[in-house]
């Protein structure tokens, strides 16, 4: 089944990388990269940390809680940044959302 395009990232979203986007540490260049169809992206440190939390189980709200606690920073500011960053990735097609299991 086709994954939906244009996902809208919100606090309740449970995003994950789609099958074709792979987050990997490039040993040769000593940087984290996202491998995607005919593209290699170089996420910054913060993006890598957030992407590692994108397991399709955690919500964006959970991520904000976790990061706010770790960095002792205001949750609202972190949430805004995380949503913006993930939305940018989603718009580029490198992020998808875990589907609700049909009960």
């Amino acid at each position: 089944m086709a994954l939906s395009r244009n996902i809208s990232v919100s606090e309740a979203s449970r995003p994950k990388l789609p099958r074709h986007a792979k987050l990997k540490f490039d040993e040769t260049r000593q940087v984290w990269v996202i491998l995607a169809p005919e593209r290699v992206l170089a996420p910054d440190e913060i993006a890598v940390e957030v992407l590692q939390l994108c397991d399709g189980v955690r919500s964006v709200g959970d991520m904000a809680d976790q990061l706010a606690a770790k960095y002792a920073a205001p949750r609202e500011a972190i949430l805004t940044d995380v949503v913006a960053m993930l939305q940018d990735l989603a718009d580029k097609g490198f992020l998808t959302e875990a589907r609700e299991k049909t009960s």
């Binding site: 089944m1 086709a2 994954l3 395009r5 244009n6 789609p18 099958r19 074709h20 792979k22 990997k24 490039d26 040993e27 040769t28 260049r29 990269v33 491998l35 169809p37 005919e38 593209r39 290699v40 992206l41 170089a42 996420p43 910054d44 993006a47 940018d88 990735l89 718009d91 097609g93």
Partner: protein
Amino acid sequence: MSDILADGKTAGAAAPSDGLAVLEQKRSTAETFGIPLAVLAELTHRCPLQCPYCSNPVELDRAGAELTTEEWKKVLSELAEIGVLQIHFSGGEPTARKDLVELVQHATDVGLYSNLITSAVLLTKEKLSALADAGLCHVQISFQGNEPVVADRVAGLKNSHEKKLEVAKWTRELDMPLTVNAVMHRQNLHQLSDIIQMAVDLDADRLEVANVQYYGWALKNRAALMPTLEQIEETSRIVEEAATRLKGILAIDYVVPDYYALRPKKCMGGWGRQFFNISPAGKVLPCHAAESITGLEFESVRSNHSIAWIWQNSEAFNRYRGTGWMPEPCKSCEFREIDFGGCRCQAFALTGDAGNTDPACTLSPMHEQIFKQAEREAAAHQDRFLYRNFAGGTLETEGEHGA
């Protein structure tokens, strides 16, 4: 976040963020030419299609000269080890190799991200499924038009269009991302809007609208393929409109025909700067058309040298690297590190010297003459194709093209 890979084939298009330049800044001059992030593996020159613009050299490698399964596996391991991240399995038609699943599996095992660049006509659902299971990450299918009459004629193969549509659907059913590659020229540009819609209907993620680049087979067919200036203006309008309308639904990469551009394309991102490909017989090449340049010797993976050594030290890669080789008008040009003098293969094909400025550039003394010739050819309506094959090409019979 920066995009640090320009696809080898579309590197000619505008590169808004050249992240490679950012990476290079951190390195010493000696390390400037880091190992490319992606490599094109042309597994074979065999292909059931006969497209008149084929990017393979006119002198095709025979099946008997192809690297063996074990040799390709060794190459893939070596590439992963030296820092290549992505492999593009191409051809010819890569699925003509019986060992493709095994090679994709090996690429996966050594950590390479694999793309398949295919005409799709040899694929079955079972084969595609096996490739997905082997870890294939992305499928790119070439289309010659949006319906069988034009498409099958350009491909020189009956029922090819219908087969491609079928394989595109299987690709999405298997949840692999799909790129539609549409090579455009005078005889199919009128279908562009419909091709864009076809890509949307096929649920493709990406569409490459690639105008023919004129060397090798395409140069032989230039009179039959060269678009008119009016067509190009219309094309740019259509692509621009569609790119805006389909934002978030379909990404469109647009390769302009450089004959009608003011500046030459930054071919391959610069010679020996971020790209190499490996030919069916194992030659390591700065560009898939590089063997058309006579007088350059290309090293093979079958030689005693490592691939990294060939990339860094071989004469062919160093000949046109950077800007030191440039004559005027490139030498003192403010754009010399923007376009690196354009395309060496085109300079060779059109001027007889690969070291000349690419005539696509308005600053080339030959630009005016070549542009006028292209315009004349586009207006002459000589529509017969010379089909690509191992026999040096076969001219389309009269009547086949009569639409």
